[in-house]
Every structure is written in C-alpha cells, then in structure tokens.
Symmetry: C2
Subunit: 219 residues, 2 copies
C-alpha cells in the first residue's frame, strides 16, 4: 500500500502522460490544419493550448508542495526534478503546435505549404507524433531502452528539416519569399518539437538511472 506522498508522486506521472496526449493531439491537428488549410481545426489547437498550460501549472504547484512538505531523496528527488523539466518541455511542445496552427490560420484560405513540400511536412508531423507517443510511454513505463530509441527518430526529423532547406534553396523554387518564410518557420517548429520530446526521454533516463545526457548536443 502506498502512502499519500507516493500517491502524489504517481499523480505527477499521470499528469505528465496526460500532457503528452494533449500535445500529441495538438501537433496532429495542427499538421492537418496546415495541410488542409482548415481554419476551424487551427482555431481548436490555438484555443486548447491553455489546457496544457493549466496541467503544467498544477504540476508546478504539486512539485513545490511536495518539496516543501517532504524531504524527497534519491529516485523520488530525481522524479521531482525530472517532472519539472519534462513539464516545461511538454508545455513548450504545446506552444510549438500552436505556432504551426497560427501559420495555417494566417494563410487561410490559402495553404501555407506548396505541393512540393507537403509530403515532407506529412512526414515531419508523423515523426513528431511518434516521438511524443513514445515519450509518453517512457514516462509511464520508465523504460530506459525505449527512451534511448527516441534519439534515432530525432535524427530522422533532422534529415527532413535539412531536406526542406534543400527544396527551398533550389533554383526551381517558384513560390517566392512568403511561402519560403512560412516553410522555414514551420520546419523549425517541428524540429524544436522533436528536440523537446528527446529531452523528455532523456529525463526519463535520468530519473531511472541518475545519469544525465547533456542537452548541449540538441541544437
């Protein structure tokens, strides 16, 4: 039987997993809104980001409270530190999905994404969803091997990000500056979304093993 303290720590895990679900849904809807120029869907991503912010605020309050009332040590202490960091990353992922949705809204009823770029954006969206889904599973299972796998998916995202620039900079780019700026920003949002998912996974490794991978090599 667990005491109230450990119930509260477990609740932190539940809240973080819930955040991964919300920001997965957000990037999924944002990608569709962007590709289909769907204003209503874009608006739903933008308005529902506050749900993510609210859960993160609850996590922060809960953490501060736990630290003030208990003297967490070892893995519990790492859980609290990791939860604070993971919550920050997940909150940011929600913001980035919102940024993608705002580009869709800005260009509506036109599409911000030229046909040559669509398949790359589809793939970036899929990888983003895969990364955050895996991150959520890792938080729930504390599976270190699964957490380490996320680095490989992030490499795939980086390749797609570079491919975007190749298409943008090619001599036959015929869409001019505005779509190039949109695609540059959107590409950056997906790439950062993936980076934050990797950081979440690294914090799972940290909380289980106590060893930290420096974030410095995530650019």
């Amino acid at each position: 039987m667990r005491d109230a303290y450990h119930e509260e720590l477990a609740a932190l895990t539940g809240r973080l997993v819930e955040m991964t679900r919300l920001v997965r849904s957000a990037i999924s809807r944002a990608t569709t809104a962007l590709l289909d120029s769907d204003l209503q869907l874009a608006e739903s991503v933008i308005s529902r980001d506050e749900e993510v912010d609210r859960i993160f605020a609850e996590i922060e309050i809960s953490i501060f409270d736990l630290m003030a009332r208990q003297q967490p040590v070892a893995v519990d202490l790492r859980m609290i530190i990791a939860a604070l960091r993971m919550g920050t990353d997940l909150e940011r992922m929600g913001d980035l999905a919102e940024h993608v949705a705002k580009v869709a809204r800005l260009r509506h009823p036109e599409s911000a994404i030229p046909p040559e770029i669509r398949s790359t954006i589809v793939e970036m969206g899929q990888i983003a969803e895969r990364l955050v889904t895996k991150a959520g599973s890792c938080i729930a299972s504390r599976d270190v091997d699964a957490a380490l796998e996320l680095e490989g998916d992030d490499d795939a995202m980086d390749r797609l990000h570079r491919r975007l620039f190749t298409v943008l900079m090619a001599d036959d780019w015929k869409y001019g500056v505005e779509p190039a700026v949109d695609v540059t920003l959107v590409g950056r949002y997906y790439e950062r979304y993936a980076d934050h998912a990797v950081r979440v996974a690294r914090d799972v490794v940290y909380l289980v093993t106590g060893s930290r991978t420096p974030d410095a090599d995530i650019v």
Copy 2:
C-alpha cells in the same frame, strides 16, 4: 557569518551571473560576426559555447547535491528551483547565440544580412544584450521591479521581429529566397533569446516573492 549551505546557495547565484556574462558576450560577438561576416569571431562563439554548458552542468550537480543533503525550504527552495530553470534558459541563450554565429559562418565570405535589414539586426542585438545584462543584474540584486522591466524590452524585440517580416514580405524585396530564409531564422533566434531572458527575470520575481507569472504568454 554564513554556513556552508548558504555559501553554496550564494555560489549558485554567482554561477548564474557568470552565465549571463558569457551569453551576453556570445550574442554580442555573434551579431558582429553576422554583420561583418567575420569568420574568426563566428568560430569563437561556436567553440566557446561549451564554457556555458560546463557552468550549467556544475549548477545542476550543485543543485542535486544541495537537495539531497539539505532540506531547503521557503526562499532557499525557490532559489534552487529558480536556479535550475534559469540555468536551463541561459544555456539555451548560449545555443541561440551559437546558431546566429553558424549562419554567419555558413554564408562567409558573403554576408547573410542584406543592407536593408542591417539596422534592424543591430537593434535586435542591442536589445538582446540589454535584456541579458538586466537579467544578470536582477539575479545578483534580486530586484523585482527591475525584473519586471524586462517585459517592456521584450516588447521592443517583438516589434523588431515583426518589422523583419514586413521587409521580407514587401514587393520590393530583391534578394530572393536564401537571404529571406537566413533572416527568418536569425530573427527567430534573437526573439527566442529575448524570451529566455524574460523567463530568467520572471524566475527572479518568483524566487523573491513566491508568485509565478505563467510562461504561456511568451510565444
């Protein structure tokens, strides 16, 4: 006379202030490297970012150690949480300065910045420096009023960021896609640098007063 515990907390403050000095110097040199197409200066920003990462790693170790050995409460506990967050933001600011330097390096010996954009980049660099300088003073002085002032400087950065897009999207933009992509990315780096400085200032407010401004409204 202070005990070893409070000496360690004070040392955290010193390390954070040192980080602000390093990332201020980094964005200053990166801006010059970008505007003057100075490869050597760009390389110095890129190679010296590891110094920032190293100090942040020391801060993390010190925080984990303090939390494991002590039972920090109230303002000390807030200091530890705030230091972890501030360190994360400052480390990211170092990365962003490095990104600016990498754009300078990529386009060398050409300049990534067309003449019409130079004055805006100069101003963005100045505001970035002002923000991080103020953030450093706030960390050292714990001056809440000064910390709250940073929001105004960040508004100025946001205005410059919007001005960049106005110039890029104008009909008389004659530089084509590549410089537009560079300027879009560089603009985003400065704007994010400023956002992180504002977050640092907000954490000073939090550590002094215990009340948090949500980050949600920093986009």
